[in-house]
Amino acid sequence: MVTKRSVSLDDEVASSVEEAAKQDGVSFSAWLSSAAEKQLRVRQGLRGVAAWEGETGSLSAEEVAAGEALLARLRSGVSGVASRVRRR
């Protein structure tokens, strides 16, 4: 099922979306819909993290930084093994 909505986009954003959609071989609408879906998942996911933190305690600044560093290492192609981060 599809809902039609009229949306306004900044000119530059619209032309970038058009280009990206062409590169990905999908329609303008499909590309926007996919981007919105991803953004919603991020939002729901962060709510999931917050729910877990509500049960177990918030991640400390040190833990957050360790997570960011691990992500950066994995994205750059470096494998790793689990190690504990100290909980404050």
């Binding site: 999931g48 993290v49 470096v78 494998s79």
Partner: protein
């Protein structure tokens, strides 16, 4: 050992178990991915295995809220089955994780298992693994 840059993360069964037992590094990594606009991917067969083997389904649900569950398509099923046969394993969940990692250029978050590397090798894929 450094290799090509990865676009995202794919979670294996070990990632679900780590999240369920409250592994704080697992949750910190998950948070970092989402904060950087990365939605981790998890094969549907791995989700099924997670719910089969993990009692803390509430925590699995909290983790899955921020993931893309990839359906087991005809093509992925065929490839996974063929790789599983060549690895001599019946663990389709593990093989599906490697298949997704190769196809979508992702780093893997899973338990260390020999079959992960064997499957990656068969696909000609250099595995980037965070062993939980």
């Amino acid at each position: 050992m450094s290799t090509a840059r990865r676009e995202g993360l794919v979670y294996g069964l070990g990632a679900l178990h780590a999240a369920a037992r409250g592994d704080r590094m697992m949750w910190a990594l998950h948070r970092a991915a989402l904060s950087n606009g990365i939605v981790p991917v998890i094969p549907a067969v791995t989700v099924a295995e997670g719910y089969r083997t993990e009692a803390r389904s509430d925590r699995i649900g909290e983790l899955l809220a921020g993931t893309e569950v990839e359906p087991f398509s005809d093509e992925a099923a065929r490839r996974s089955g063929e790789i599983a046969a060549r690895c001599d394993t019946s663990d389709l969940s593990v093989v599906a994780v490697v298949e997704v990692a190769e196809r979508r250029n992702c780093a893997v978050v899973a338990q260390r298992q020999a079959v992960l590397r064997t499957a990656a090798s068969l696909l000609g894929h250099e595995l980037v693994l965070y062993a939980v």
